[in-house]
C-alpha cells in the first residue's frame, strides 16, 4: 500500500477523518451532565466517548437527587470547538440524559477534586512531607510510624503539584476522585 502515500497517523478508515479543521486549537471543557440514575446510564455516556473517539480526561458521577433519581456526571474533555459542540449534542440525544451544560462556555466555574495520598518514609522525609501537606492544606487522615495518608482537595493542577512534591518523599499510592464542578455565582443550573 506504499503507493497510496498515506501519512502515518492519518490512516483511520472512519468517516471522521474527513472532518476539516475549522479551528485547530484544542480546548479543555468541563461538562455537567444531568442524567436519570438508571442502570447502564454511565455505560451509555462512556460508550459514546469511546465509540466516537472523544477524550475523557476526568469523569465523576454520583446521585445528587435521591428522590428524583438524578445523577450528575462531570466530564472534563478536550477537543476543537467543533468536537466539543458535537460531544454536547451527542450527549444531549441520549434518552436518559436530561441536560448537558458546558461549564467552560457558561462562564467562570469552580472545579475541585479530592485525592488521597499514601506517603511512607522516616526521618527528614517524613517531616518534610507533613510540612508540605500543611502548606497545601492537606489533612492527615491516617498515620502509622512509617506512613501518612493525606487528604487534599483542590484543582487538578494543585493536586498534580502536590503529587510532584510527594514523589521524592516516599509517595506510594494515590487515589483521585476526578473533578466536580459548579458554575460561580448565585445562578443555578435549571
Amino acid at each position: 500500500m506504499s503507493a497510496l502515500n498515506i501519512k502515518k497517523g492519518s490512516t483511520s478508515h472512519s468517516a471522521y477523518n474527513l472532518r476539516p479543521n475549522y479551528s485547530d486549537t484544542e480546548e479543555r471543557h468541563t461538562l455537567a451532565v444531568i442524567v436519570e440514575n438508571e442502570p447502564g446510564v454511565l455505560a451509555r455516556v462512556i460508550g459514546l466517548f469511546s465509540g466516537r473517539g472523544y477524550n475523557i480526561e476526568s469523569l465523576t458521577v454520583a446521585e445528587i437527587d435521591h428522590e428524583g433519581h438524578r445523577s450528575r456526571i462531570t466530564i472534563v474533555t478536550s477537543g476543537t470547538p467543533q468536537v466539543i459542540a458535537q460531544i454536547t449534542a451527542q450527549l444531549g440525544r441520549i434518552v436518559s440524559v436530561h441536560n448537558v451544560y458546558d461549564l467552560t462556555v457558561e462562564g467562570a466555574s469552580v472545579e475541585r477534586e479530592l485525592a488521597l495520598f499514601k506517603v511512607s518514609g522516616k526521618g527528614n522525609d517524613r517531616i518534610e512531607a507533613i510540612r508540605l501537606a500543611d502548606i497545601f492544606r492537606a489533612n492527615v487522615v491516617d498515620s502509622t510510624l512509617e506512613s501518612f495518608i493525606f487528604e487534599i482537595t483542590g484543582t487538578p493542577e494543585k493536586i498534580d503539584a502536590f503529587a510532584d512534591l510527594m514523589r521524592p518523599l516516599g509517595l506510594e499510592e494515590v487515589a483521585r476522585t476526578g473533578v466536580a464542578a459548579l458554575s460561580r455565582g448565585a445562578h443555578a443550573l435549571p
Binding site: 478508515h13 468517516a15 447502564g40 455505560a43 467543533q82 451527542q90 444531549g92 441520549i94 434518552v95
Partner: protein
Amino acid sequence: MSNSMTGAKMVVQALIDQGVDTVFGYPGGAVLPIYDEIFQQNHIQHVLVRHEQGAVHAAEGYARSTGKPGVALVTSGPGATNAVTGLTDALMDSIPIIVLTGQVPTFMIGSDAFQEADTVGITRPCTKHNWLVKDTDALSKTLHEAFHVAMSGRPGPVLVDIPKDVQFATGTYQPAKPQASHYQPQVKGDIESITELAKAIETAKRPIFYTGGGVINSGPQASQLLRELVAATGFPVTSTLMGLGAYPASGEAWLGMLGMHGLYEANMSMHDCDLMINIGARFDDRITGTVEHFSPNSKKAHIDIDASSINKVIRVDIPIVGDVAHVLEDLLKVWKSRGRKTDAEGVAKWWKQINEWRAVDCLAFKQTGPNIRPQHAMARLEALTKGHDRYICTEVGQHQMWAAQYLGFEDPNRWMTSGGLGTMGYGHPASIGVQMAHRDALVINVAGEASWLMNMQELGTAIQYRLPVKQFILNNERLGMVRQWQELLHGERYSQSWSEALPDFVKLAEAFGAKGIQCSDPADLDDAIMEMINHDGPVVFDCLVEKHENCFPMIPSGKPHNEMLLANAKTQGAITGTGAVLV
C-alpha cells in the same frame, strides 16, 4: 378488564394498545410465556420468520412502508445476537422499530446461564435506547415508553429485554399515557433562523434543495409541504438515497439522486450552488466526498430534528433544529408573509445552466449485444410496473444503485433500502415486512444474487403467509460492487469477488414452493417481467445480466463533485492517493 395480569400478557396487551397488528418473530425458551399469550389471542398476527435478522429487517420494511413502528420478538442469547445487524441497520437509517427479547430469569442473570447474553450491553450502541425490565409492575410502562422513544424525535430502534420470570409473574398493567415521558424532543424550529432562511431564499441566484430521509421520517405532511415549497419557489430539488419519493421523480424540479452514484446534474448543482437548503439529510460521506471540496461557495441551511446532525460533518450557516413538517410549515408562512419573493431572473439563469448539465444525459445507455444490461433490466422493470401500487426494496450493491437511478418514485414510503449500514440481506426480509402491511400491492425486491443468498431462507416465510413478493435478482455472478472497486482501485485483481457455485434459482424457488423464472435474452425480458407481475404468489426472478458492467456515474472517493466519472470512463486507477483509504 382487570389491570392485574402476567408480564407475558402485558406484552400482548401493550402491543394491542399501541395499535400493533403484526409482529415478526422467532420463538425460544426465554419467550415461551409470550408465545403462549400470542397463541391465545386474535388481535395480533405473528409472522414466523426463518432467522431473527429477517424478523428485524421485516419490521424495518413494515415501518418504512407504513410510517408506523415495526415490532420484532426474539428469544434470549442467539435470538438477541442475531437481531444485532438489523438493529444497527435501523439505527443508521433512523427506522422506528421495537425489538422485544427474552432473557434468562432475573435470579440467573450473570451466571452464564443457558442462552444468556448481555443483551442490553451488546445492543446499547446499536439502539436508540434499551431497557432490561426486572419487575413486572414496571413492564407496561416501559413498553409504552419504548414505543414513544422509537417514534419521537429522530426515530430509531429500541429494545426491551424481558427476563422469563418477569413474564410469568403477575403485576399491574398501566395503559399508555401521553406526555408521561421526560423525552420530548423539540419539533418547532427557531423562528429567527427560519426567517433568516426565508431571506436567503429571496436573494439566492443558484439555490438547491438537498432533501433526505428526514422528510420521509417526518411523515406524508412533510412531503406535501416540500412539494408546495418547491412549486412556489421554482428551485431545483435533489435527494439522497434515503429520501427518494419525498419529491416525485416526475416533478419538473427533480434533478435525481445526488452523491457518489448520483446524477451528474444533481452533483454539479450541489457543487456550484450559492444556497444549499438541506432538509432532513445528514451530509453523509457518500454525499460530501472530501469535505474540503464540498460545495465550496454556498451558504448552507440545515433543517434537522437531531442537533448532533448539525455541524457534524459540514459547517452550516443557518442551522434549524426541528421536525421537517413543522419547520417547512413555518418557513412557508414566513416566506409568504414577506411577499413570496425569489430572484426569478437569477434562478432562470441557474435552470439554464442545470439544463445544460441535464443534456449530458448521464444515465443514457444502449441495450446492445446478446446479454441483458442491468440498466436495461431496471428501465424495463420501471416501464412495466410504473402504474402499479408498487413498493420497491433492494439489497446492497450495484443493483441497489441502478434501482435508485432508473426507478422513479412518486411518493414517500415506497422505497426501502439499507443506506447507512449497507446491509446485504436486508431486502428480502424487508419485502416480506412491506407485503404484510400492503397485502394487495406489488412488492419487488431488486437484488443481487450474492446479497439475496444472505437471507434467502425467508422464501419459506413468503410461502407460509402467502406473500406474493417478487425477488428480482440482477444476477451478474459477481459481488459486483466489490468487483467494481477492485477494477478501479486494485488493478483488476478480483480477489474473492466471484459469486461461484451459485444455485439454480429456478429450482431453488420451486423447492420452496415458489415460482422461478430465469431470463437471459433481452428479447424475452418484457414477457418474463409480465409473467412475474401476473403470478399470484412469490416469484424468484433470475435475471442473468452482463457480468462486468460498472455502475456510473460515480464520484471516485477523494474527488470533488465536479469530477465525476461518467459511463465509459477510463476506470483504471480512477481512485488514487488518499481517496483510496476511504470506503
